[in-house]
Subunit: 389 residues, 2 copies
Amino acid sequence: MLIKMESEQRIIRLQKALNKMELDGALFVYPIDVYYFTGTRQNSTLWVPTEGNPMLLVRKSYARATTESLIEDTRPFPSSREFPNLFGPQIKRIGFTFDILPVQQYQYYSKMLPGREFTDISPINRELRSVKSEWELEQMRHSGDCLCSVFAQVPEFLKEGMRELDLSAEFECRLRKAGGEGYVRMRAFNQELFHGLAVSGATSDKPGFFDGAVSGRGLSAASPQGSSVEKIVAGSPVLLDYTVVFNGYIVDMTRMFVFGQPKPELEKAFATAIAIQQYLVENLKPGMICEDLFLVAASMAEDAGLGRNFMGAPGENARFVGHGVGLELDEYPVLAQGFKVPLQVGQTIAIEPKFVLPGLGAVGIENTFAVSSGGGIKITGMADEMISL
Amino acid sequence: MLIKMESEQRIIRLQKALNKMELDGALFVYPIDVYYFTGTRQNSTLWVPTEGNPMLLVRKSYARATTESLIEDTRPFPSSREFPNLFGPQIKRIGFTFDILPVQQYQYYSKMLPGREFTDISPINRELRSVKSEWELEQMRHSGDCLCSVFAQVPEFLKEGMRELDLSAEFECRLRKAGGEGYVRMRAFNQELFHGLAVSGATSDKPGFFDGAVSGRGLSAASPQGSSVEKIVAGSPVLLDYTVVFNGYIVDMTRMFVFGQPKPELEKAFATAIAIQQYLVENLKPGMICEDLFLVAASMAEDAGLGRNFMGAPGENARFVGHGVGLELDEYPVLAQGFKVPLQVGQTIAIEPKFVLPGLGAVGIENTFAVSSGGGIKITGMADEMISL
């Protein structure tokens, strides 16, 4: 359960940001945004005035929301006639998260609150969320321990000749039993992820829609991601990229497994990924510029002769090497081209240098780290080596 | 893989609808909408002019999209400078699905295509999708067989004293091994579902955000749905409400299990659910009005003295008894109050009369049916009885 002090501090930080933007308040309608500020993800709308106390309007379930909400003024969602009266004439400029607000919802609120100006606060919402409190880091450490405990079991159930799909099923089953909450939230409009990826060399070298280095073939054109029905064979690199969710907080990691000896090209690429991770971890400090870190990583890949294989199949490379994680898998900041902002203490970032070698498969490493003055602190505390079986 | 004829017929039906609305074409940006018309769910935008040939603009992965897309004119997404030139001055009125289009995307396309009028085509998009072709019914029958095969195994792994969570994990593992694609798509803005629900009497009587009769407690306030860590005890009804996805097509079903003898109140409620399902199946015929079917179902619940327990915890009852399923779990039509439209042959509907008895738990039945002139044809072909263990 979220604690009262967390909720209060988050709202104070938001109110400061709203004040700076000269807004009179903000409406949150997206479940995980509402959860962040209130402690409940029931179907509701949160009103945070720039000055004064927030108000949570619950559609369903009001009974459950009252047991979870940390907002004193939690009430059933009012009728369309009553709704406008909750907002006095002094409320003129209202913030909304346009990155996920559907046009139909926008039209509904425009009609309910005529004459008001709506402004996009998506960037400040994501920015606020990117810095984690000690309480949040504690949730993520729990997530990390849970995920590592399942990764540690892989040698027990990964068998030569098994289908990628069966490996997924076994991994996911253990993740759930370890307390994984299942549904992984992503913010980007056209992204989806079911738990993670269990892919081998036969499929991991193919491009896909996913905004990551590796997509997997998936089971159909409708679900073109993750494991396929291909069998895992000796020498082929098995890449397991999985997430887990605990109290809503996501942690993300990747490990490599192989039966027998991997090809030298794969070993070289893996060693380069480890070196890039090492450089990034040492520099995961406040003030470092996200884009600069990506550009150094890309140049290290280039120097190893692996520039065209870095972060994706050649020609479809992603231009990032790490992404924020938290209540969503794709939080701020992003270690990416164009992301010219400094890191802050408490940001949590999944660093994932990966290489895709056509005909051989994908290799790489991924760990979730917290930014600190001494460099990245590892949340996914398991050895990084490629595990031979 | 989607077949060419399907794609062509869907586009022709869409173009007729666009013509009727006096639109010049429609832009689709939501992955599953794009998949429906093109056969690929890669990250892309589909342009369907009211007259002429559609065009698929692919962001990622273009290589994969070219192997899947049934649209002849499939090309990489153009630059912002080139994009407007694809739309001549005769293109004035453009349809968009406002139900899922985020405001940021809307603003992007408004800027790219100045002077155009954008119109909401969400209702016609959902209406088109609600009627399934024989090819689609074939996918759904496969989904149904797959789901039933896992339900049939439940007596092998459901054990007295196990946690709801472990039951979920075992069920989900088998669903994946049977070919379940995992990610379950929902259209409604604030809804989420991870696979389904495995809940017992200790938790199934509590309300939740989910727009269904039963939510489950879940594992935290952030993931307040589905199984909890409660143990399953004798006499307590175990409700398994699960979906499966095959080639993108979802089927939905619920079965009840119990150790020992259920309480007479539960048996009576279950018998009423079966009677309501029987009535609805006999009337799942073209021309029947959705709302009327719901109202009869509600009155049957009322007559059994279970009106306040119907479709939810007392006071938080959902006002529906069945919902369309297909590429999304919440398709049209809905057997719901206010849904005054006639059924059509080929619509696929999950019928799920359920009762929530505070202190005892939830009971009910759910099957997916296809509407036909002879009444509902069952896609989830497994016996309906409550299974005693």
